[in-house]
C-alpha cells in the first residue's frame, strides 16, 4: 500500500514538473551529469538519413539521402530554408506529386539542375539502404580532413576553394549579410575554462541569419534559456546541426579551444 502511495507521489511530482514547463529546473539535467554522446556512424554514413514517412506504409524502399553529396553543391540554407525542408527526418510533408510539381527535392531534381524523377531514376533515391552512397565517398578524399563525423573539414574545404556551394536557388545574386562578430560564451561554472567561441561568419557561409534566429537562438543577450551542453546533446540549440550533419559534438575543441 505504502509503495503504491509512494509511486503516486512520484508520478504526480513528475507531472508537476511537466506543467511547470520551461521555468523550473528539469530533473535529471544537473551539472554533474557525465554526458554520453551517441556513438558516431562510420564516416561514410555520417549525415546520411533514411526518409520513410510514406514509404514505410508502402512497398517502396525508403529514400536514402546523403548530406555530404548535397552540401558540396548547395549551402544548407537552400534546402533547409528556401525549400522549406525541416531539420528533422520524416517531418516535412514531401510527396511524389509535390516533387513532380517542383517542390522540395523537385526544385532541383527536375532534369535541368539534377536528374529528374523517372522510372529509371527511382532507385537512385529510393535505395532503402543507408549506405547507398558509399561508392562515392572516395570523392571526398582530397578535401581537408577533420577528426570526426564524415572526417571532412567543410569550413576549410569551402575556404580553400575545394567546393563552391550555391547560396540561393531563387536569387542568383544573393549575398549574405557579412557579420564578423565572434561571440565568447563564458561558462557558468567557476574554475573551469571551457569558454566556447562562436564565429558568426563561418556559419553565414552556409546559413541565413533567420535559419537560427529567433527560433533556435533568441537574439537578446542571455536571452536563450537552457542553453546548456546537455540540451545541445539532446538535439537542441547547436545540436540541431552539430549532432548529425555539421561536425559532431565529439570534436569538442573546435568550439571550446581552451579545453585541454
Amino acid at each position: 500500500m505504502r509503495g503504491v502511495i509512494l509511486f503516486l507521489v512520484v508520478v504526480l511530482s513528475s507531472a508537476l514538473a511537466c506543467t511547470s514547463g520551461e521555468k523550473g529546473v528539469i530533473p535529471g539535467t544537473q551539472f554533474d551529469v557525465v554526458w554520453e554522446f551517441a556513438p558516431l556512424p562510420p564516416p561514410q554514413h555520417y549525415g546520411n538519413i533514411l526518409i520513410s514517412r510514406l514509404t514505410r506504409s508502402s512497398t517502396h524502399p525508403p529514400v536514402a539521402f546523403s548530406h555530404w553529396i548535397h552540401r558540396r553543391r548547395y549551402t544548407c540554407r537552400v534546402c533547409h530554408f528556401e525549400l522549406n525542408i525541416a531539420m528533422k527526418t520524416n517531418v516535412t510533408d514531401i510527396t511524389e506529386a509535390k516533387i513532380r510539381k517542383g517542390e522540395y527535392c523537385g526544385a532541383c531534381h527536375n532534369g535541368v539542375i539534377a536528374f529528374a524523377v523517372s522510372e529509371q531514376t527511382c532507385k537512385t533515391c529510393h535505395a532503402g539502404n543507408i549506405g547507398a552512397s558509399d561508392g562515392r565517398f572516395s570523392e571526398l578524399s582530397e578535401y581537408p580532413r577533420a577528426k570526426y563525423g564524415d572526417e571532412v573539414n567543410w569550413v576549410k574545404a569551402l575556404k580553400q576553394g575545394f567546393i563552391a556551394p550555391k547560396k540561393s536557388l531563387i536569387n542568383p545574386n544573393f549575398v549574405p549579410i557579412p557579420f564578423e562578430r565572434v561571440l565568447r560564451l563564458e561558462p557558468e561554472w567557476n574554475m573551469i575554462k571551457t569558454r566556447a567561441l562562436f564565429p558568426h561568419q563561418k556559419h553565414i557561409e552556409w546559413l541565413d541569419c533567420a535559419d537560427c534566429h529567433p527560433d533556435i537562438f533568441n537574439i537578446q543577450k542571455k536571452g536563450t534559456k537552457h542553453f546548456r551542453m546537455d540540451y545541445i546533446n539532446s538535439g537542441k540549440f547547436c545540436g540541431v546541426c552539430h549532432l548529425t550533419v555539421a561536425f559532431p559534438i565529439q570534436d569538442c575543441r573546435r568550439c571550446h579551444p581552451d579545453l585541454k
Binding site: R2, G3, V4, L6, F7, V10, V11, S13, S14, A15, A17, C18, G21, E22, I26, P27, G28, T29, F81, E82, N84, A86, M87, V91, K101, S168, I170, N171, F174, V175, P176, I177, P178, F179, E180, R181, D208, C209, A210, D211, H213, P214, D215, I216, F217, N218, I219, Q220, G223, T224, K225, H226, F227, Y231, S234, G235, K236, F237, G239, V240
Partner: protein, 263 residues
C-alpha cells in the same frame, strides 16, 4: 518490496523528465508555413459556436486586387485574426467583409444564377476543413509572378511594377478621398549592433500600400526616434512585425531591410 516500487518509480520519473526535456520545443526550429499558407488567417469568433465552419481568409487572394489600406484603414479591420469581432449581421449591413462582399464589388452571401436559382455562397469563406476550390488557384495563378525567397514566394512589389496586378486603393461608397500628403523622405534606421547593416526605410514604398494611418500613430509614433523597439520585438509581431511577421515579406529575408553597406 517497498524498495522495488521506489526504484521502479524513480526509473519512471527519470524517463518522464527525459521525455519532457526532449519534447519541449525550445532550442529547435519551428515549422515554416508553406507558400500557399503564408498570410492565411482563420477567423473563428462565432463560427464554431454556431456550428458553421470557421472562415479561412487568404491575404494573397485579396492583395492581388486591393492595397492593404482599403481593408485595414477604410474598412477598419484589426491586424490580428479575430480582432475585429465580425458578426454575420455586420456583413449583411455592409460592414467589414460585407463592404465588398455585397454582390457588386465581390460575391455576396448569395448569387443569382440564370435569374431564377439562388446559390448560397457561405462555403466560399466558411471553408475550414472543407475542400473548397477558389477561383484563383495559388500555384497556377502565381506561377509566372516574380519569385521571392520566402513568404508566398512572390515578390508582390515587382508584380505590381510589372503590371501583373493592379491594386485598387479607393472603393466607391467606402473610401473618402482626401488630398494626398507628400511622402516624407527615406531615412536610415541605425542598427544597434556593430557590423549589422543599417535599414533603409522608404516611406514611399510603404505609403503606396498603407497610407499614413495604418502605421501612425499607433504602431509608430509620428516623430522620429520616439518609438523605441528592437529586433526581438519585431520577431514577436510588434512594430515592423505587425505586417512583416505575418503577411508582408517575412522578417527572415534580412537583406530586404538591412540594406545599407557597412564601411
Amino acid at each position: 518490496m517497498k524498495y522495488k516500487v521506489l526504484i521502479v518509480s524513480l526509473v519512471l520519473l527519470a524517463c518522464a523528465s527525459a521525455v519532457i526535456a526532449a519534447s519541449s520545443n525550445f532550442g529547435t526550429k519551428k515549422r515554416m508555413p508553406r507558400p500557399e499558407e503564408f498570410g492565411t488567417v482563420v477567423i473563428n469568433n462565432y463560427s464554431e459556436k454556431n456550428n458553421i465552419a470557421p472562415v479561412v481568409f487568404r491575404h494573397w487572394i485579396h492583395r492581388t486586387k486591393y492595397t492593404c489600406r482599403v481593408c485595414h484603414v477604410d474598412i477598419g479591420f484589426a491586424m490580428e485574426a479575430g480582432g475585429s469581432d465580425i458578426k454575420e449581421a455586420d456583413n449583411r449591413n455592409h460592414l467589414y467583409c460585407g463592404s465588398c462582399h455585397n454582390g457588386k464589388e465581390a460575391f455576396g452571401p448569395t448569387t443569382r444564377e440564370k435569374v431564377v436559382t439562388e446559390v448560397q455562397n457561405c462555403e466560399r469563406c466558411h471553408s475550414l476543413g472543407k475542400e473548397v476550390k477558389n477561383q484563383k488557384d495559388f500555384n497556377s495563378y502565381l506561377k509566372d509572378f516574380p519569385p521571392s525567397r520566402f513568404g508566398n514566394r512572390v515578390d508582390w512589389m515587382k508584380a505590381e511594377e510589372k503590371g501583373l496586378i493592379k491594386l485598387k486603393d479607393q472603393i466607391e461608397g467606402i473610401s473618402i478621398k482626401r488630398q494626398a500628403i507628400p511622402n516624407p523622405k527615406d531615412f536610415d534606421i541605425k542598427s544597434t549592433i556593430l557590423g549589422m547593416p543599417d535599414i533603409i526605410f522608404s516611406h514611399r514604398i510603404h505609403a503606396e500600400m498603407n497610407g499614413c494611418e495604418l502605421c501612425h500613430p499607433e504602431i509608430f509614433g509620428a516623430k522620429k526616434g520616439v518609438t523605441k523597439y528592437n529586433m526581438q520585438d519585431i520577431f514577436a509581431g510588434k512594430f515592423c512585425g505587425a505586417c512583416h511577421a505575418k503577411v508582408a515579406f517575412p522578417f527572415y529575408d534580412c537583406q530586404l531591410c538591412h540594406l545599407k553597406e557597412v564601411y
